[in-house]
């Protein structure tokens, strides 16, 4: 079974530029999550999708961050404009709505550096 895919793996941009990350969850997983992980900290949930609907985006800085999950499969996370403090690893995870629905499976992450 293929895991959660993310791209790009690394991205370096200057502040005030825009950036987008892509995530493809495990096939059949209805729930998709985006996390921000700042160096030395645990992941922080940014947004959670159930199919193509948003379940929780309470910690998403909506003035600069946006995310969508068209067709309930792939998802993109965008930052516009980026700030220095956005430097972090952005993790995508997915889970299956079923017996094992509580377990989240993570992608390799996208490491963003904002200069």
């Amino acid at each position: 079974e293929a895991g959660v895919a993310q791209s790009p793996r690394y991205k370096i941009i200057e502040k005030r530029q825009s950036v987008a990350f892509w995530c493809n969850p495990i096939s059949g997983h209805a729930t998709l999550y985006w996390y921000q992980q700042i160096l030395g900290q645990g992941p922080k949930l940014l947004i959670q999708f159930q199919n193509n609907g948003v379940v929780d985006d309470s910690q998403l800085p909506k003035d600069r961050f946006s995310a969508e999950r068209l067709k309930g499969v792939d998802s993109t996370l965008k930052i516009q404009p980026a700030k220095l403090e956005d430097s972090a690893v952005y993790l995508c995870a997915s889970s299956f709505r079923g017996q094992d629905q509580e377990t989240q499976y993570f992608g390799p992450g996208t490491r963003l550096l904002v200069l």
């Binding site: 900290q41 645990g42 992941p43 949930l45 959670q48 509580e102 377990t103 499976y105 390799p108």
Partner: protein
Amino acid sequence: AQTVTQSQPEMSVQEAETVTLSCTYDTSENNYYLFWYKQPPSRQMILVIRQEAYKQQNATENRFSVNFQKAAKSFSLKISDSQLGDTAMYFCAFIPSNTGNQFYFGTGTSLTVIP
């Protein structure tokens, strides 16, 4: 509020020895799930072990086992016969069963296995 505390920022263990990583959590929920995730330097977050709060029996997965003390809200991870590949950050995570699968992560413990 739900919180997860990992009080050991860094630990080390000799190869083939046993080490225990601690985790405590705070919740008013009665039904929830607990997880340990491993994050090697490659940044891929990998599930190590999970525990359902309604199960009294401690979960085990090969060399990994937990000591789940529900009354004390404690969930420690024991790694037996430590191997060099166990070197990683270890995150304790918690999900109440009724909040739409939002994970709460601890700040992590950096484990180094010394040859």
